[in-house]
Amino acid sequence: MSEVIVITSGKGGVGKTTTTANVGTGLAKEGKKVVLIDTDIGLRNLDVVMGLENRIVYNLVDVVEGNCRIKQAMIKDKKYPDLYLLPSAQTRDKSSVSPEQMKKVVDELKEEFDYILLDCPAGIEQGFQNAIAGADRALIVTTPEVSAIRDADRIIGLLEANDIHKIDLVINRIRMDMVKRGDMLSKDDVLDILAIDLIGVVPDDENIVVSTNQGEPLVGSDSMAGKAYMNICKRVMGQEVPFLDLDTKSFFEKLAGIFKK
């Protein structure tokens, strides 16, 4: 049984591409056959986050227009032989692909892969419609900020209107120190407002920037974000994994806490 998952957010810059790269890589790490599709035509960047930008020959638009077979456009990952990327076109615009064409591509890939991850562009226009066309379920990425949450809520409404009802939330870039100060919405605040299922909380982690610099997703590494992304992968596969304690207090802080009581 293959599953098609769209990673979307409404707002730009909240971490859709990073999430796609890490969840996809994590699923491949778990032994699944995975293909990532960058649906952001004109602004491709999943290839750089995956570190595969130098290997692109054909792209999604070539496949849709029949310039190549789907196999020719797919790029095999550096580390995981069962992980592929179908890159987007850089020099075309959103109208180069229609939702029907997108669905056809996805349906063809379903025969071969366990998971098909669609990295959705920001916004709710054509690119969004393309990305959700073939999807069975959605991961919504948001940050604990008013603008991102508002957009996430709008996206939830649009997904439901398009008959996608399995929707899970990833809260990205949370900072526990700010939550404790009362200067950032907590996980529970965000859940209370959006009222959908939570599938992961990813802390704001410098290692993400480093991993993007290197073009190597950090999922499964020892960093907090690496652990959080691995847990998301397991939950995507249906496993029950407890949520991480993101409180990164030092030993002495913890000790001080005990004496305060």
Binding site: I149, D153, R154, R181, G182, D183, M184, L185, I193, A195
Partner: protein, 88 residues
């Protein structure tokens, strides 16, 4: 939050974000602009005033999400009555 609190305790910014978002999303979800809400409110005052004397200042209408699942948003109106009008 009581009157005392709102005067003397500075609300932290997360609380502020939460309150703003809750209000914002209710109107986003209902596709109902504040102007439309104002029009609805005025019409309600007009209709109810035919039958009873109400306090227009105290009138409060809101679109909220129903608690039961699968039911859509609901319009709640809180209309303080001053006096029932006597039938002439």
């Amino acid at each position: 939050m009581g009157l005392f609190d709102s005067f003397f305790k500075k609300k932290n910014s997360a609380d502020e974000a939460r309150d703003r978002l809750k209000l914002l999303l209710v109107s986003d979800r209902s596709n109902c602009s504040p102007e439309t809400m104002e029009l609805i409110k005025n019409d309600i005052i007009k209709v109810i005033s035919k039958y009873m004397e109400i306090d227009p200042q105290g009138l409060d209408i809101q679109i909220t999400q129903n608690d039961e699942e699968h039911s859509g948003p609901a319009l709640f109106a809180n209309i303080p009555i001053r006096e029932m009008k006597k039938k002439k």
